[in-house]
Amino acid sequence: MKPRLPKLRLPRRRHTRLLAGAAALAVVAGAGTWTAAASGEVPAVHRQDRMVEMPGAAIDTSYFTAGGAGKRPAVLLGHGFGGSKDDVRAQAERLARDGYAVLTWSARGFGRSGGQIGLNDPAYEVKDVSRLVDWLARQPEVRLDADGDPRVGVAGASYGGAISLLAAGYDQRVDAIAPQITYWNLADSLFPQGVFKKLWAGLFFTTGSADGMRPGGVPGTDTAPASGRATAPAPGPAPAGGATACGRFQPELCAMYERVAVAGKPDAEARALLEGRSPSAVADRIKVPTLIVQGQEDSLFPLDQADAMAKAVAANGAPVSVDWAAGGHDGGLRESARVEDRVAGWFDRYLKDEQGADTGPAFRVSRSGGIDSTDGAVQLRGASGERYPGLASAPRRFALSGREQSFANPAGGAPPALSSLPGIGGQLAAVGAGLSLDFPGQNARFESEPLAEEVRVTGAPTVTLNVRSTAADGSAVLFGKLYDVGPDGRQAVLPSQLVAPVRVENAQQGAAVELRLPAVDHAVAAGHRLRLVVAATDLGYASPAAPATYTVAVRGALAVPVADGVRTASAGLPAWVWGLPLGAALLAAALLGIRRTGRESAGTRGGVPQPEPALADVPLEITGLTKRYRGVQDRYAVQDLSFRVEKGQVLGLLGPNGAGKTTTLRMLMGLISPDAGEIRVFGHAVRAGTPVLSRVGAFVEGAGFLPHLTGRANLELYWQATGRPAEDAHMPEALEIAGLGDALERAVRTYSQGMRQRLAIAQAMLGMPDLLILDEPTNGLDPPQIREMRDVMIRYAAGGRTVIVSSHLLSEVEQTCTHLVVMDRGRLVRAGEVAEITGGGDTLLVTLAGPVDEGTVAKVAALEGVGAVTAADDGLLVRLEGATATGLIAELVRLEVPVSAVGPHRRLEDAFLTLIGGAA
């Protein structure tokens, strides 16, 4: 029987999604409404539609094949009640691509097939299947086990699932079956424990009536394809009697239904009729591998139907797997994709004989977690066991408190209590939002103590009741429900919204009855209680119309089956959940592994050069240093620069703006890496963060402070950042040099340029570094501060330390420095002592009044104590070698050289002035 029943109008939640899986099975389809799926299909599947004439009806079939001409097993796919062969077309095409010959058909009375609905009558519907098997045996591509005996499996859901069981029972040529959400015994399903399941039965029989399910008249049909629904014609072969209540049902079925519905209770004849058409009638003849998929939210065909199936087939010795899927007739089959996979695997194993095919565990149950917040779907996890535990596995007993209680069966059975409703409902319980209603005075309640630990019910709990009835015939119809009640006592969840009816006879004086509660898989959390409610009415069932009073007491404990062997698989997470971070970690490690601490020169690539002990006392040695900035490849910032600084020197690094001074100092501090060459500080090659830099104090290119902190906090945090002991900082001396006074306690953002400059120099001096580097230290200082700064530097070096001062002002370095390095355009121009470079008095420029001639040069050169003499533009350059300036002047006068002036010659000055323009 097909779900997709008219859903009674209830508050709509997420029907669309939750029921979508069932929609394909559920459509009451008209002929010729399946065009949409035809386009865009993989063309490899070939479909052949035929009407097959059978006794009493023409049966509409579709035959799907794909691929070459090789022999292959066949699969018959049945459809649900109220549907047609089109419902299983997608699955058929998939199986065809997987290498099966697939035959689908519309059962009698459905789709475009003719005939009457016989509820899988062995005389009609089951024989139809045998004739289809005959037909399959004649197809050239179908693999045969024997002449006229194809290798064939049958699968289907609901009505189509029952036919698969029946086909296996009546036709021994069937080799494997996969019934889903279907019945074992239709009488037990519609008349459980002698109680008429009136709502489902009513929907069931009206579905089969021609006009009973007219789309427009049924609320809640929005899940079906709109076009198919709205335009569905009445099924073509509908008999003329369509206007009668029975539609296309066989008259005897119709009569049986009407009789039971009026009586409100089943009779033996009705039971016999349905049982004769049920798979249970051929229980001992179903001997093929059987995959049983049953829905947990199914008040029509509950789990005990699957239990009976599994026991019967297993008793015949055939392999059986049981799968409790999420959903069912109340909630749609929510796992159709997974179930289809499993069916395909089952057939691969038992039809194709693939030994490696995965048939899945012997028992599997889908358990719901929470809701996926990204799409709102209920999360499912599979739990599996190596054997099917049945419905009464390892019961644990819980005492129920509650004395004997009496309650009323209201006249007319109204208002009824509410549990599940056909086509809705069960899935709401999965998220704890179940809808159930018990009317006061119409039920008895018994409760357990709070559970000490979580108990997962897997199966059907049972309890024995003592029942007394005041009804005239001494009978009682009771409905048992087992609630999971939260610690607050108010939040009560009815697992899967299922209720177990029971009819008790001859209970005037009291009768004991074993109440078998609905089979469920449900976890009851620690601290929750189990509450047994025994009610007199339920909306879904017919209960006696005559008023009566029932008295119920619990006898013994509640037995709750627990299947400890069924374990939830370690969360069904896709592999990428672990693979992605692992891959990312590997990628990250690769990124970091090939990292180099700076671009190293070719000769030392792959490692930091060993320190040179010979240079341990040399504060700085630079050799062949070269750097080009990225993007300025045509111009060297520093090119082949080499010089050396000895201990105790105050070295002036002199050059115009852009000469490469700052770049050199940045390389010296490890901030940028040279393209070639090497810098050694106290013998250690400099790289980014080289520890030896801790012996270097630097002030390069302006101050760098955290503007929101005070000057003092900046210095203190800077020193703490070096990780060195606070007492090594020599903070007071540094602060004295900064000379900021009260301004130290102000935020640096309020400082003037000069104040920041002084604070930065003080920071460079923290810890009294062995090598102090000051870049343009006097910028922004006023003249007294400049003089003071010079004194500071001189004093600093006097203590055996070394100072490097860079400047573009010759006059500044001249007054402070002992040694000079002059740079221009990245190259070294000159290096040496200041005196040597600036001409410290041993060379004199003799300016002459007249032109310089060769004779004069020769005469002067011949003088005693005079070295080289060269002619300059307007005079002579004379280097003294023993003579004094005074003596030279006297000699020049004696020689009658026309001297107009004599002064010290600064050999550098002319060139330097040119370099730096007029700035000096």
Binding site: R13, S368, G369, G370, I371, S373, T374, Q379, V431, A433, G486, Q491, V577, L580, P581, A584, L587, A588, A589, L592, R595, T597, G598, R599, P611, A616, D617, Y629, R666, M669, G670, L671, I672, S673, F682, G683, A688, G689, T690, P691, L693, S694, R695, V696, A698, G702, G704, F705, L709, L717, Y718, A721, T722, G723, R724, P725, D728, Q763, P769, D770
Partner: protein, 287 residues
């Protein structure tokens, strides 16, 4: 200094820029305090809003669905969950992008970076300290909001069970660990923003560029996630999982979405952090 002396007395590379010092350096910044103030004030603003709006008359909103907003005033725990709900999408992205994006770039813009590096703080060490402190501040921001909300909400609406929008409720005692789990997931899911911001921070001297870039790319991720045509590819967008923490507020704690979201976020973050460390170690510091 003798020939064997490589370093200044007391200097050890592993002791440079201790976390405490870096935290102090960042703590007194105005942006830190403003961010903290905004997050601490939000619950009070919402309490006022609920008071002015007259509470939850519109129970059920669209589709008859009950959202966290509808249950906001049910208890302190509900209120805290609601505050997280309204701020997780964007408001909590901002502190993460700010703390992680600003940390290196602002030092570069102040020029203090070169003095730290020359002092010398090894580059990896500097990034490590800065990353840990930035993430710590981010986490503090995320903890601050629900904590204040829980306290303020408890005063305003009482201490009670957490009413779940899906139905049912969680006991008050159980709801606090759940909220902690929510905060933990929100933090992990923001790691990708943190990684992006941190990487940008090492690439630019403009702090606003790094922060804005990270926020911008996070928004792009959200936009892409709205493109349903991408199908299952969206599962690899961090934004796809940003509300997976709602799974922690269900009767059945659902881990799947959070685990997937965390995996995606951590993966991106690992690569981005590695890129930051790699790039910074090789970079010429010219600021």
């Amino acid at each position: 200094m003798s020939a064997v002396t490589e370093v200044a007395p007391g200097y050890r590379a592993s002791r440079t820029l201790p976390l405490r010092v870096e935290a102090l350096r960042q703590w007194r910044r105005r942006r830190t305090l403003v961010m903290g103030g905004v997050l601490a004030a939000l619950p009070f603003v919402m309490i006022i809003a609920f008071a002015v709006g007259g509470g939850q008359d519109g129970r059920g909103g669209r589709d008859g669905r009950i959202t966290l907003i509808d249950t906001a005033t049910a208890s302190g725990a509900n209120f805290a969950a609601t505050c997280l709900f309204v701020s997780a999408g964007f408001l909590l992205v901002v502190p993460v992008a700010l703390f992680c994006g600003d940390t290196v770039a602002s030092e570069a813009s102040w020029s203090s970076l070169r003095y730290l590096l020359a002092s010398p703080v090894p580059r990896t060490r500097l990034l490590w300290s800065k990353l840990v402190v930035a993430l710590g501040f981010s986490l503090a921001a995320m903890v601050l909001l629900p904590l204040v909300a829980l306290a303020a909400g408890t005063v305003a609406y009482g201490w009670g069970p957490l009413k779940l929008p899906t139905g049912g409720s969680l006991a008050a005692g159980e709801s606090v660990p759940r909220l902690a789990l929510v905060v933990a997931f929100v933090f992990v899911s923001q790691l990708v923003t943190a990684g992006l911001a941190f990487w940008l921070s090492t690439r630019t001297d403009a702090p606003l560029g790094a922060v804005g870039g990270a926020v911008g790319l996070t928004i792009v991720g959200n936009v892409l996630d709205a493109v349903t045509a991408l199908g299952s590819w969206r599962e690899f967008l961090p934004a796809h999982w940003q509300f997976a923490w709602a799974d922690a507020l269900q009767p059945h704690l659902e881990w799947g979405g959070m685990v997937k979201g965390a995996a995606v976020s951590v993966s991106y973050a690992l690569v981005l952090f590695a890129l930051a460390f790699r790039g910074f170690a090789r970079k010429d510091i010219v600021s």
